[in-house]
């Protein structure tokens, strides 16, 4: 047995007393096997990785009945012995490849430093580095050695880090969300790479991720975490195929799928409790959100029960039997675009080219962000824009909104030519509103919620009275499913999902006919994402507002939008009804995008072996 953990507890000292952040976590990793640690942010999955690395933040303390690596107790190991182990026998793959590499040193020198630590003689380092980089299918590795990390893409940096991790032929690799910061197609490459290397070296892998579907495809075993508790553990196929614990089931049901009938997502109420709240939760920490909880749940900490072969669930008999209160198979109602009202938005050969003018000393080369974009949106219609980072989808959103002026082409909003931002600005912001990606940045931290959502009433000529603003704010909070009590709060006092709702409420204040949503769910956890997606569905139904929904997540677009535009390198390469495009893609790029998404059917091999080419 490679890594054997029994009853791991991590506690933190808070002003109110010691709180258990991880409770009685047990798992094992065998050589050549992958264990997936799955959970939403704050579930404690990265904490386990930190315990392995011995990198707990101050005031956190770990205890365990057993925490052995090859029979050595990791928690009792002296710092010197532990240092010898880490990076050599136990290697790490970080989440942010770009920030894990030193930007002022070349890839080669950092790699060789790592090899020097492993005791590789000076003469062999360069050759070993080139060989390791070749192993992760980076083309012409010799040339890469003299490049700096910022000259490489995120995917290439992650390959370098993976090559580094495997260069010592480690027994255990801890990968903490190694693909979260990367695009879908890159994610597929990285995942297949990790699997290939892990099989070749017979390495055990601890794969930390928030994506249950990805874990089901990659891992042999899955451990699902919720607020520091291991709620379910078992073979990947069993946990994903027949999840028992209400939380695992909810997690699965909250993820929109790419195939099959479109069903209403079952969104859990509320959010996961934060560390401060954990102290007052002696029993099941999921109880307050659980559809089948009884009063006893919140009081007693249930033991793990074996429900199938090596499949363990923590909970009451109701949990282990796999029953949920309501099994929703509710089909998603189609929102009918009101074609009678005509088009809201029409773009004609819109292009945006940045730079390109000669400055005093050097010639700047122009960058084409958007090129020849022509499409129109009917009133009440939802159109998805998909593509990878840098494909120009955010620029497109800013052009439509008028935050930037196109270099050529024309934009028509509500029948008026609004190519240039300025002349009809007031009319424009009445017709169209934008929901920004990151609510933490889009909400002024100095304004209260009530003030934020009615910000558009504050402007010149419309100095609304206090009473009117308050009433409008209350109506908007009700519309977006927020409690009235939030009115006097500041954004920093809200959860991520609540902030995104406030963000949406503000865009709705002027009652626009078109909403432009730029990646508004990508920063949210799955269960909160489901809440926001359902909210958007409801708002479309009730307000008849058209939606431009920009996302890199194809399944989310499928859930929300009737029509989809696929963007690649600033060009719209494919467009059509969502179902048609996704079931019978014609453009090779669309096909590549679709193939990169882990399918819901875990029997289908993923990633497909087509991704064998090297990248340069």
């Amino acid at each position: 047995m490679l890594l054997d953990v029994a009853d791991l507890n991590v506690t933190v000292g808070l002003p109110a007393g010691r709180v258990a952040v991880l409770r009685d976590i047990s798992f094992t990793v065998e050589p050549g096997r992958i264990l997936g640690l799955v959970g939403e942010s704050g579930a404690g999955k990265s904490m386990i990785g930190r315990v392995v690395a011995g990198l707990l933040p101050p005031a956190f303390r770990a205890t365990a009945r057993r925490f052995s690596f090859h029979g050595q107790e990791l928690l009792d190991l002296s710092p010197t012995r532990k240092r010898a182990l880490l990076g050599d026998r136990i290697a790490f793959i970080p989440q942010e490849p770009l920030s894990a590499l030193n930007p002022v040193r070349t890839v080669g020198s950092q790699f060789e430093e790592h090899l020097a630590r492993l005791g590789v003689p000076r003469g062999q380092r360069r050759a070993r580095t080139a060989q390791a980089l070749g192993e992760v299918r980076l083309a012409r590795p010799e040339r890469l050695l003299d490049l700096y990390p910022f000259q490489l893409s995120g995917g290439m940096c992650q390959r370098v880090l993976i090559a580094m991790a495997f260069s010592s032929d480690p027994a255990l690799v801890v990968a903490d969300e190694p693909t979260t910061a990367l695009d879908v197609t890159t994610q597929a490459h990285i995942v297949s790479l990790i699997r290939k290397l892990q099989e070749a070296h017979n390495t055990g892998v601890l794969f930390i991720t928030h994506d249950l579907r990805l874990a089901a495809h990659l891992c042999d075993e899955i451990l699902v975490l919720y607020a520091g508790d291991a709620v379910e553990r078992g073979p990947a196929k069993a946990v994903f195929g027949e999840p028992r614990h209400p939380y695992t089931r909810a997690l699965k049901q909250a993820t929109p799928s790419l195939t099959g009938p479109r069903r209403r997502l079952e969104a859990l109420p509320d959010v996961m409790p934060g560390i401060e709240a954990l102290g007052a939760m002696p029993g099941c920490r999921f109880a307050s959100r659980c559809p089948i909880a009884d009063p006893q749940c919140a009081r007693a900490f249930a033991p793990l029960a074996e429900v199938g072969e090596n499949h363990w669930v923590r909970g009451t008999r109701l949990c282990t039997s796999g029953a949920t209160g309501t099994v929703s198979r509710e089909a998603l109602p189609r929102v009918q675009p009101q074609a009678a009202d005509g088009t809201v938005l029409r773009l004609d050969r819109v292009a945006k080219i940045y730079g390109g003018r000669r400055s005093l000393w050097r010639k700047r080369f122009p960058v084409t962000a958007v090129q020849g974009a022509s499409f129109s949106i009917a009133s009440g219609e939802a159109v998805g824009v998909v593509g990878e980072s840098g494909c120009g989808k955010s620029t497109l959103a800013r052009l439509i909104m008028g935050l930037e002026a196109p270099s050529s082409g024309s934009i028509e909003l509500g029948g008026i030519d609004m190519t240039l931002p300025s002349p009809f600005w007031r009319r424009r912001i009445q017709l169209a509103q934008m929901i920004f990606q990151d609510p933490a940045s889009a909400l002024n931290p100095r304004r209260r919620v009530g003030n934020l959502v009615t910000q558009s009433l504050e402007t010149k000529g419309r100095t609304a009275g206090h009473v009117e603003r308050r009433q409008r704010a209350l109506a908007l909070l009700r519309d977006t499913g927020l409690p009235e009590g939030l009115l006097p709060r500041f954004p920093a006092q809200l959860s991520g999902g609540q902030r995104q709702r406030v963000n949406i409420a503000r865009a709705l204040c002027a009652e626009p006919r078109l909403l432009i949503a730029d990646e508004i769910v990508s920063g949210l956890d799955v269960s909160v994402q489901a809440q926001i997606l359902n909210l958007l569905q409801r708002l479309r139904r009730e307000h008849g507002v058209a939606l431009v929904f920009i996302s890199h997540d194809l399944s989310v677009v499928r859930y929300l939008c009737e029509r989809v535009l696929v963007m690649h390198d600033g060009k719209i390469v494919e467009t059509g009804p969502t179902e048609e495009v996704f079931s019978a893609p014609t453009h090779p790029y669309t096909r590549a995008l679709l193939a990169a998404v882990p399918p819901d059917d875990i029997a289908r091999p993923w990633p497909s072996d087509r991704d064998r080419e090297t990248i340069s």
Partner: protein, 291 residues
């Protein structure tokens, strides 16, 4: 717990702010109530008792607690009236420099482009002049007088504000709530006044407080060389200049104004440092955990 109210509470809880603020308030009160507090008129000469020692030394006398100078004027009264000059310069010069500097910084940071280029180069050129020499030249041109001192300090020191505030404005302008405010129908002016100015105010307060200390020193330098206030006005710099000739016989008339300058600069710096600590998120690491 969170929000603007919390920042204010955190500021007031910071010991540096408490100490610096208390000293500053005392200095301001002394300046305001100088005619009531001072035992003598600062210009009154007692030619029979020149260079009198302070009370606690041999030959001291309660009628001149800090002694007298070479012309028989009461050092304490001159010190108290000197605070009027110092505090007026500190307050108005710092606020004026802040207003000019941050107005230009807002334009440069918000609009960017050529406006930013021009203002940025102007700051570069300005900062390459030695500040003391520049203010001396200005005073020679303007002539003596308290208001001219204030104007000179503003003209010399606005760049300090412009540089720092500009970069802060640029950081704030990159946040999504700025385009969001535009989409709510705010004009550029409204965006600047309602979204950006509140965001840079904490920084501005810090800078003003530090600038107050600098203004006190600059005024002292100018009055020391006789280019600041009219000769009949009591100022700390003038006191130092007057005490030079008799500093071996009566060191107290030199030490007293130096100490007053020291206290006011210390107060300003403590206040500024404390404010910076409590409003800068990188320094205001509130650890919730206990070890």
């Amino acid at each position: 717990m969170i929000g603007p109210g919390a920042t204010l509470r955190r500021c007031l809880g910071e010991p540096r702010v408490q100490a610096g603020g208390a000293l500053m308030i005392v200095l301001l009160l002394v300046a305001v109530f100088a005619p009531i507090l001072a035992p003598h008129d600062p210009g009154d000469q007692d030619l029979l008792r020149t260079l009198a020692p302070p009370v606690w030394t041999f030959g001291g006398d309660w009628s001149y607690p800090l002694g007298t100078d070479s012309l028989g004027r009461d050092v304490l009264s001159r010190l108290i009236f000197g605070a009027r000059v110092a505090m007026r310069v500190a307050l108005f010069a710092a606020l004026g420099a802040a207003a000019l500097g941050s107005a230009l910084a807002l334009i440069a940071g918000y609009y960017g482009g050529w406006a930013d280029w021009i203002i940025g180069r102007a700051v570069d050129v300005w900062m390459s002049f030695p500040p003391v020499i520049l203010s001396l030249i200005l005073m020679v041109g303007f002539g003596a007088g308290l208001n001219n001192v204030i104007v000179a300090i503003i003209i010399v020191d606005w760049t300090r504000f412009c540089r720092v505030v500009r970069s802060e404005v640029m950081t704030v302008t990159k946040r999504d709530y700025i385009p969001a405010a535009r989409l709510a129908g705010f004009t550029h002016m409204q965006v600047i006044l309602k979204e950006i100015v509140p965001a840079v105010t904490p920084l501005l307060l810090t800078l003003v407080s530090i600038e107050m200390g600098i203004a006190v020193v600059v005024e002292a330098i100018l009055s020391f060389v006789g280019l600041s206030v009219e000769p009949d006005v009591a100022a700390w710099g003038v006191m130092i200049a007057d005490a030079r000739q008799s500093m071996y016989e009566a060191p107290w008339s030199l030490v007293a104004p130096v100490f007053a300058i020291f206290v006011s600069v210390l107060a300003a710096n403590l206040l500024g440092d404390g404010l910076r600590r409590s409003v800068d998120p990188r320094l205001a690491q509130r650890l919730v955990v206990v070890r």
